[in-house]
């Protein structure tokens, strides 16, 4: 399959890239890893007059802890994230997530920023970043701005990014002691989108009760699903089977999956609950809670 014709641009600075996006506005798309964009163009489900490749801009691939945050460059490849010792030791939820995105070959091209900026509810990083309370940095013609991740996903394939903005960094607050997170995904086979998946990040207090919890679901609604009621239920309680079970039930109840080849609405909601139980349980375990 051949995509419809477009012009390709390979700017070497962010400023140049933003200028190209401003110039071509809605007919331009940012090319990061291209593992979602190029299939869309090939299948002609999408069209672009101009592709602005940010792959030739130096300095957008990094993973570092700085200023109380884990900072991930927008163009960092999933395979780099997956093999990072820092991430493996301190943010295992990100390893859980990266390892179930598409397949290892795709992950050699696909980028963390692209996974978020694409706004696909089937993508795996969005729920994890919500659980972690992340922020993203967007650079546009007026400079950069920071967007809270829970204000980032607006709808199906819609994000808070303007057409002339580029996602350049993801910032994750370094979790305090006695924190843990996990991501569980039910998929039919390697490379599939989730039937349902859940991300959980928990911090325990000195008494063993839950001090903070972030919980979000993948692919059971037009955007990642979060439930204030579920998080409120668990906060301040001991994370035992009863409280975890109820929080998982509440977040699954807030989902709105659609029936397709991966299953019926009821099945997906039930699988979302099961994934939430597993993610919460593992998160507590990693937080040292049992």
């Amino acid at each position: 399959m051949i995509p419809a014709a477009f012009d390709y641009h390979a700017p070497t600075t962010l400023k140049e890239a933003v200028a190209l996006l401003s110039q071509h506005k809605d007919s331009a798309k940012v090319l990061s890893g291209g593992q979602s964009l190029l299939p869309l163009l090939k299948l002609r489900l999408g069209q672009a007059g101009h592709l602005v490749d940010i792959g030739r801009i130096p300095g957008l691939e990094y993973i570092k802890e700085e200023g109380g945050m884990l900072r991930i460059g927008g163009r960092t490849r999933e395979s780099t994230l997956e093999r990072s010792e820092l991430v493996r030791a301190r943010y295992p939820i990100l390893i859980d997530t990266a390892q179930v995105i598409a397949d290892p070959l795709v992950r050699n091209m696909a980028t963390v920023g692209g996974n978020l900026a694409h706004g696909d509810p089937g993508n795996d990083h969005p729920a994890t970043m919500i659980a972690l309370g992340a922020q993203v940095v967007a650079v546009g013609p007026k400079g950069d701005r920071v967007i809270r991740i829970d204000e980032f996903f607006l709808g199906l394939f819609q994000t808070a990014l303007q057409p002339d903005e580029i996602l350049t960094e993801i910032r994750i607050p370094t979790p305090p002691a006695r924190s843990g997170g996990a991501y569980f995904k039910l998929e039919r086979k390697v490379g599939d989108y989730a039937t349902a998946a859940a991300a959980a990040q928990i911090t325990l207090g000195s008494s063993g009760a839950v001090e903070r919890v972030g919980l979000a679901l993948t692919n059971v609604g037009p955007t990642p699903v979060r439930s204030a009621a579920a998080e409120k239920h668990l906060t301040g309680k001991r994370p035992d089977a009863a409280s975890i079970g109820e929080a998982a039930r509440l977040v699954a109840q807030a989902s709105s999956p659609s029936a397709d080849r991966r299953g019926s609405v009821d099945y997906k909601r039930e699988m979302a609950r099961v994934m939430a139980v597993r993610a919460l349980t593992k998160a507590v375990e990693r937080a040292g809670g049992r």
């Binding site: 477009f6 190029l38 299939p39 070959l105």
Partner: protein, 163 residues
Amino acid sequence: MATHKIRVTVNGAAREAEVESRLLLVHLLREEFRLTGTHIGCDTTHCGACTVLLDGQPVKSCTVLAVQADGRQVETVEGLEKDGKLHPIQEGFWQEHGLQCGYCTPGMMMTSCALLARNANPSEAEIREAISGNLCRCTGYLNIVKAVQYAANKQKEGAHVAA
């Protein structure tokens, strides 16, 4: 629409081409450079038949633009054999009968080469994980895993002799 003049190092040799923006890497290799060892399978980023190494990393060349390879190194199955001698991974697929129809084989071998380059002694689980983006509909993967293990052992012996 403008075309782009690109330079790509393919299997160690500098190549040049004038390409449309939308030309895919797999088409550049097969149709411009006549390297038809790289296969087109699903053409939808699933099967891995088109796997080549881009700067040493296995990628699906149906999902990379030719122009993205400008200034970079590409290795294809044609580059595995050196001076009439099969690469250990090729020998492994032959000795262990790691194929039936052969359609997935070039991609399987490129992925396996990259695995062995970063992990000389992979476990069976690591081999299976590494090739999980390459689909084979004939073999059930058992002999493919054995072929990769054969190559790993062969390379270790080679390293030992060289030392």
